[in-house]
């Protein structure tokens, strides 16, 4: 997800900490699909631990008071929540811009009409492949593609602005031009092309999904050409393959500066993968006001700003450009969440990432490991 502001961050903040703009609400970890790159944690929250409708509504109000403008309703599959329409209504009542991130499995025409009436602003539809064979194999759900295409038509007919979100990797990158064409045909205003980011379940699938360097470069060229050709018709946001990059991404726009994430059972995370950092502890919305968690919570304070940095980040001219990259990736690849993201060319481990990316991208044997529901 991307956030852009055309003006500098305004002044009203506590002790120099800006208020968050975006909140990702993982309403549930349940999902009919089992995508091998799912960003949910390996240990998922069970249904009986999920927050109630009333608690979510309260969290939405607290978020709006704190300064959140954009709410992303996600999962798992958010349509698996029976109270989705009530949750959308509560979010709109709180004054939030409400975005549904969905596979569309479980969305009927009737339900879409109810979501429309409740004030849903925008739908973001995931795409696993451009045909049933690919999409159903990657999603691990027979018949899913057909249902998704039907739902896409209903979404557009209902008048919702649509973003098509294509997650691409070694197995389906050859379908990227067709995916862009599909988005145009669907009349999507916006498309996200994201090369798989290796967190969550995707970490188990690096051998099966890592793109080759040539594929990653080709994807960049295809997106650049399509952006130019489709100017004024469709906007394309692009998440490149970071194992093949020279510099890491500015994760979450900077730790604890832009966005926050709520798990199905109410934990407040600085990013969706933060639970992979064992030294962090997370507050729950049931125990503490959201504003206090954002401004004072230990997990948010841990990697805010630049004080936590080590060399080579500490003296690097890019330290406030990318903030040392992704903390979860530093944990996963360097074993130290305060290390320089090893994707960075200045990291002593960079050459290992390059070798690893190459080895994974040549792996022709490892099968897909699908996500498994709790």
């Amino acid at each position: 997800m991307t956030e852009t502001l055309t003006a500098p961050e305004p002044t009203k903040s506590r002790r120099g900490i800006p208020a968050p703009i975006a909140m990702l609400a993982e309403l549930t970890h349940r999902c009919p699909l089992s995508c091998p790159y799912c960003s949910n944690p390996l240990e998922m929250v069970r249904r009986d631990s999920e927050l109630s409708t009333e608690t979510w509504a309260d969290v939405f109000r607290q978020a709006a008071d704190l300064g959140v403008l954009q709410l992303h309703l996600s999962g798992g599959e958010p349509a698996a929540r029976r109270d989705l329409v009530d949750l959308v209504r509560a979010a709109r009542d709180a004054g939030l811009y409400t975005n549904l991130i969905t596979s569309a499995i479980g969305l009927t025409q009737k339900r879409l009409a109810e979501l429309d009436e409740a004030g849903l602003d925008h739908v973001q539809l995931s795409l696993q492949g451009t045909d049933a064979e690919m999409a159903d194999r990657i999603g691990g759900y027979q018949g899913g593609f057909k249902r998704k295409m039907q739902a896409a038509q209903w979404i557009v007919e209902a008048g919702f602005p649509l973003t098509l979100n294509a997650v691409v990797h070694r197995q389906n990158l050859h379908q990227l031009p067709e995916a862009i064409e599909m988005a145009v045909q669907m009349k999507a205003r916006r498309m996200e092309v994201a090369i798989v980011q290796f967190h969550g379940w995707a970490m188990l699938n690096r051998g099966a999904m890592m793109p080759t360097r040539e594929q990653a470069q080709e994807a960049g060229r295809i997106v650049a050409e399509a952006r130019e050709r489709l100017k004024g018709t469709m906007v394309i946001d692009y998440v490149p393959a970071d194992y093949h990059d020279d510099y890491p991404k500015r994760c979450m726009g900077g730790w604890g500066t832009t966005g926050l994430n709520i798990t199905p059972d109410g934990l407040v995370l600085p990013c969706h993968a933060a639970q992979t950092i064992p030294s962090l502890t997370f507050d729950n919305v049931a125990d503490r006001p959201l504003a206090e968690i954002w401004y004072e919570g230990a997990a948010f304070q841990a990697y805010r700003g630049t004080d936590w940095m080590q060399e080579p980040c500490r003296s690097c001219e890019r330290r406030t450009v990318d903030f040392g990259g992704c903390r979860c990736q530093a944990m996963a690849l360097a074993g130290d969440p305060a290390a320089t993201d090893p994707v960075c060319i200045k990291s002593p481990l960079h050459h290992k990432v390059v070798e690893m990316a190459e080895a994974f991208s040549e792996d022709e044997e490892t099968p897909l490991t699908y996500r498994v529901n709790a």
């Binding site: 003006a7 403008l69 975005n99 602005p161």
Partner: protein, 96 residues
């Protein structure tokens, strides 16, 4: 800069999924759109407030020129650049 100016009779429309919103925490106006939050300066806000789905670009320019006591030619350039910038990002539409 866009290649050509919008015609005066074009009617700008804020499409569904795009909303003007007062950000009470940061004390300013923003345009909320899919995955985008655009902070508005007073000029952008003044332009957007004239868009009601019926007023043409020419009418909007005339209204703003009078309100700000400025030459319509100068206002036209500002409005055109602002609107076309939003159109490129699919945040605004025009009816011919």
């Amino acid at each position: 800069m866009p290649d050509s100016a919008l015609p005066a009779e074009a009617v700008p429309v804020i499409p569904r999924g795009v909303r003007l919103h007062h950000d009470h925490v940061r004390d300013g106006w923003v345009l909320l759109a899919p995955e985008r939050t655009i902070r508005l300066d007073p000029i952008g806000l003044a332009i957007l407030r004239q868009i009601d789905g019926t007023a043409s670009l020419g009418q909007i320019v005339a209204t703003l020129a009078e309100a700000y006591d400025a030459a319509p030619e100068q206002i036209t350039g500002d409005v055109d650049a602002f609107l076309q910038g939003l159109m490129e990002r699919r945040i605004l539409e025009v009816r011919p």
